[in-house]
C-alpha cells in the first residue's frame, strides 16, 4: 500500500480508530467510511484500560468502548472488514492484551483476518523477541516507534527491527491534535531516513488538510488519530459522527494528494 502511494508520488494517509466505539459495528462502519473517503491504511486500535501514551480524546473513546463490552477478538473482525473494503489493516495495541491473548495466537489470528501487522507503542524491539519470531512466521509487519529523543544508536536498532514502515512520533507527549507542525517532525524523519530505507510515517497530532499536506511533503505517510476519533466522540449522534468523519477524512486525503502537486 505504501509502495502504491509512493508510485502515485504522494504520502499515504493512515487513519486511526479504536474498535468498539461507539459499538463494534459502529466502529467498523466508521473504518469503512474512512476507506471510502480516501484513507489508505487503517490503524485499528485495541482499547486498553491503561493507555499511558494516549491523550484525553483516545482515552475517553477507549473507556467508553470497554464499558460497551469490546473484546480483543473484535479487532480481528474489524481487520477483516477493512481489508475487504480495500485498505490495509494494521492493529495498534498496548502490549498486555497481546501477551494475555498469547503472542503466537495473536499473530495467527491477525494473519487469518488479513491484517498486515502490528503497531506496538509500549513494546521496544529489545523486549520483542517473541513477537518478532511470531511476526516472521506469519509474515506480519512489525511497526516500532521512534521519537525525537531517540539517539542515533536507538534509531538504528529500532528501524532494523521494523518491517512495513517506521512510526515516527514526532512530538514528545501523548496523542492529541496540535495546532502546529513543528520542525522536530521533519528533523526526526531526516534522521530516520539516514539509517533506514523503510518508509517513515509521522504521527504528531495532525487535524487539518493543510497540516496533512505539510507533513506529506516530507513523510511517506501521515498518521491521523485523535482528530478522527473526536469526530465520533463529540458528535450528537452516530449519524452526525460519520458525516463529520467523512468530511475530515476527505479533507485530509486531499491534503496528502496536494502535498507534492
Amino acid at each position: 500500500m505504501l509502495q502504491r502511494c509512493r508510485d502515485e508520488g504522494r504520502a499515504a494517509l493512515v487513519g486511526y480508530l479504536p474498535v468498539g466505539f461507539p459499538t463494534v459495528d459502529g466502529s467498523i462502519e466508521a473504518m469503512r467510511a474512512l476507506v471510502e473517503s480516501g484513507v489508505d491504511i487503517i490503524e485499528i486500535g485495541v482499547p486498553y484500560s491503561d493507555p499511558v501514551m494516549d491523550g484525553p480524546v483516545i482515552q475517553d473513546a477507549a473507556v467508553r468502548a470497554l464499558e460497551a463490552g469490546v473484546r480483543v477478538d473484535d479487532a480481528f473482525t474489524a481487520a477483516r472488514a477493512v481489508v475487504d473494503s480495500g485498505a490495509a489493516a494494521l492493529v495498534m495495541t498496548y502490549w498486555n492484551p497481546v501477551l494475555r491473548h498469547g503472542v503466537e495466537r495473536f499473530a495467527a489470528d491477525l494473519a487469518d483476518a488479513g491484517g498486515s501487522g502490528l503497531i506496538t507503542p509500549d513494546l521496544i524491539p529489545d523486549e520483542a523477541g517473541e513477537w518478532i519470531e511470531a511476526a516472521d512466521r506469519h509474515g506480519l509487519d512489525k511497526v516500532f516507534l521512534v521519537a525525537p529523543s531517540s539517539t542515533p544508536d536507538r534509531l538504528a536498532a529500532v528501524t532494523s527491527a521494523c518491517r512495513g514502515f517506521v512510526y515516527a512520533t514526532a512530538v514528545m507527549g501523548v496523542t492529541g491534535a496540535r495546532a502546529q507542525v513543528g520542525h522536530a517532525a521533519q528533523d526526526l524523519v531526516a534522521r530516520t531516513r539516514s539509517v533506514t530505507d523503510l518508509p517513515v510515517c509521522v504521527g504528531l497530532g495532525v487535524s487539518t488538510g493543510a497540516q496533512a499536506a505539510e507533513v506529506g511533503r516530507f513523510a511517506d505517510g501521515v498518521i491521523v488519530g485523535s482528530a478522527l476519533v473526536r469526530c465520533l466522540t463529540e458528535a450528537p449522534s452516530p449519524g452526525e459522527g460519520l458525516a463529520r468523519l467523512r468530511k475530515l477524512a476527505a479533507e485530509l486525503a486531499d491534503g496528502v494528494r496536494e502535498a507534492r502537486a
Binding site: 486498553y48 521496544i124 536498532a157
Partner: protein, 416 residues
C-alpha cells in the same frame, strides 16, 4: 539487531515503555550506577539520612502486642519515625539527588496514600526542585490531610479523574507528563516497579532498612529473626527490608498483600492470589487482569496497597520460593491497627497494619520461641480519619463523637 533485554529478575521486570522514554531511562541507569560508587554522592545521601531523615531508625520490641501473636517476640523496625512519616523518604532523597546530578529541575510523582507524594514534595522543597504530584481523585478524598501537606510544601497536586481514580491512574498520568517533559523532568517513581532501572534502584535506596534492622536484631536478640513481615503494595518497604536477608536461608520472608473484603469477594489487591503474569506500568510481573489483559481495579481500605500490580522482584522471589505472600483482609488489618495503638501506644499506617496482622498469624503458627521482625513502614497520623470512621468514632458531621465509651474507645471489643 536489538539491544539485549535489561533489568530482569528471573523472567520478570524489563522495560515495557514507549521508545520516547528509553534515552531518559538509559541516562538514569547510567547516573545511578556512577552515583552508587561516587563517594561524594554516597556521603551526601548518608549525611541527609543522618541529619534530615533521622537514620538509623530504631527498633522497638512490643511485648504487649506480642501477647496477641502467640507469645512470639515481635520487633518493629520503626520506619514510621522517619521524617515525613514513612520509609518513602529513603528512596526520594536518593532520586532527588540524582535529579540534580542529571541537571533536571522538575520532579513529578504518583501517590496513593500520599506518603510518597509528601516525601517527594519534601525533597523538592529541600533541594529547590519544582514538584507536581499526581493522585487519584478518590485518594485525594480519603487522604485529604496529605493533599494539604503536599501543598504546604509547595507542590502542585493534580487530582486524576479518570479510570479507577486511584494509584494506577495516578501512575498513568505521571507517565504521560514524563513523556511530554522528559528533558527537564525526572519521574520519582515511588515503588519497586516500573521500567528498569526503577525496581532495582528504588530497592537499593531502601536497602538500608534491612541492613540496619538485621544488625539491630542481632544486637538485641543474639540471633537472626525467624520471620520478616512487610506489607506489599508496589513492594518498596518489603524489598527494602527483605533484601539484606535474602542470603539468610533460615529467615522466612513474608509479604502481606491487601486482601480487601476477602479474596472470594473479588474486592482486593492480592495480586499473588488471583493475578496473572502480565505487563503494567513498564514491568512484566503479576497483574490483576481479565481474560483480555485489561487491568482489574483493586480494592483496599489502605490507599497505599490499592494497586493492581506488584514489583517484579517480588514476583521472582515468590516464583523461586524465597519469599511467601499472604492476603490480609481489611478487617484483619484494622484489628491489628487498633491492637497496636492500644497495647503499645503506636498508631501504625493502615498499610503497615497489614504486616502487623501477618505477624499475628505467624506468631500464632510458630509459638513463643519465634522472633518476628515487622517493618512498620509508616505512621498512622494520615489514617486517623479513615480509622475513626471505620470504628465509628465520628458523629454524622464528621466531628469526634463525644459519647464513646472510655472502656472501649475503638468500639471493636479488642482486648488489651
Amino acid at each position: 539487531m536489538s539491544h539485549a533485554p535489561v533489568g530482569r529478575f528471573g523472567g520478570f521486570g524489563g522495560r515495557y515503555v514507549p521508545e520516547a522514554l528509553i534515552p531518559a531511562l538509559e541516562q538514569l541507569d547510567e547516573e545511578r550506577r556512577k552515583a552508587r560508587v561516587d563517594p561524594e554522592f554516597v556521603g551526601e545521601l548518608e549525611r541527609l539520612h543522618r541529619t534530615y531523615t533521622g537514620r538509623p531508625s530504631i527498633i522497638t520490641e512490643v511485648p504487649r502486642f506480642a501477647e496477641h501473636c502467640g507469645g512470639a517476640r515481635v520487633i518493629l523496625k520503626r520506619e514510621d519515625l522517619n521524617h515525613t512519616g514513612s520509609h518513602k523518604i529513603n528512596n526520594v532523597l536518593g532520586q532527588a539527588l540524582l535529579t540534580k546530578r542529571m541537571g533536571k529541575t522538575r520532579v513529578i510523582a504518583e501517590t496513593g496514600a500520599g506518603q510518597h507524594g509528601v516525601a517527594t514534595a519534601t525533597a523538592a522543597a529541600l533541594l529547590g526542585l519544582e514538584c507536581v504530584v499526581y493522585m487519584g481523585r478518590k485518594d485525594t478524598e480519603r487522604q485529604a490531610l496529605n493533599v494539604a501537606r503536599m501543598r504546604l510544601l509547595g507542590a502542585e497536586v493534580v487530582a486524576v479523574e479518570h479510570g479507577s481514580q486511584t494509584l494506577k491512574d495516578a501512575v498513568n498520568e505521571a507517565f504521560r507528563d514524563w513523556v511530554a517533559n522528559v528533558e527537564t523532568t525526572h519521574y520519582v517513581l515511588g515503588t519497586v516497579t516500573g521500567p528498569h532501572p526503577f525496581p532495582e534502584m528504588v530497592r537499593d535506596f531502601h536497602r538500608v532498612i534491612g541492613v540496619e534492622a538485621r544488625q539491630q536484631v542481632l544486637d538485641l536478640v543474639g540471633r537472626l529473626p525467624d520471620v520478616v513481615c512487610a506489607c506489599v503494595g508496589g513492594g518498596s518497604n518489603a524489598m527494602g527490608i527483605f533484601h539484606r536477608f535474602l542470603d539468610d536461608a533460615e529467615v522466612r520472608l513474608v509479604g502481606l498483600e491487601a486482601g480487601g473484603s476477602g479474596i472470594a469477594s473479588g474486592h482486593h489487591a492480592a495480586r499473588f492470589s488471583t493475578g496473572e503474569p502480565g505487563v503494567l506500568h513498564g514491568a512484566y510481573t503479576f497483574v490483576l487482569q481479565d481474560e483480555d489483559g485489561q487491568t482489574i481495579e483493586s480494592h483496599s481500605v489502605s490507599a497505599g496497597l490499592d494497586y493492581p500490580s506488584v514489583g517484579p522482584e517480588h514476583a521472582h522471589l515468590r516464583e523461586t520460593g524465597r519469599a511467601e505472600y499472604r492476603p490480609i483482609t481489611d478487617d484483619e488489618a484494622m484489628e491489628a491497627f487498633a491492637l497496636l495503638s492500644r497495647t503499645e501506644g503506636i498508631l501504625p499506617a493502615i498499610e503497615s497494619a497489614h504486616a502487623l496482622a501477618g505477624a499475628m498469624q505467624l506468631g500464632r503458627e510458630l509459638g513463643p520461641d519465634a522472633v518476628i521482625l515487622v517493618n512498620l513502614s509508616g505512621r498512622g497520623d494520615k489514617d486517623v480519619h479513615t480509622a475513626a470512621q471505620w470504628f465509628g468514632l465520628l458523629d454524622d458531621s464528621g466531628s469526634p463523637e463525644p459519647a464513646v465509651s472510655p472502656e472501649d474507645p475503638t468500639g471493636t471489643g479488642v482486648q488489651q
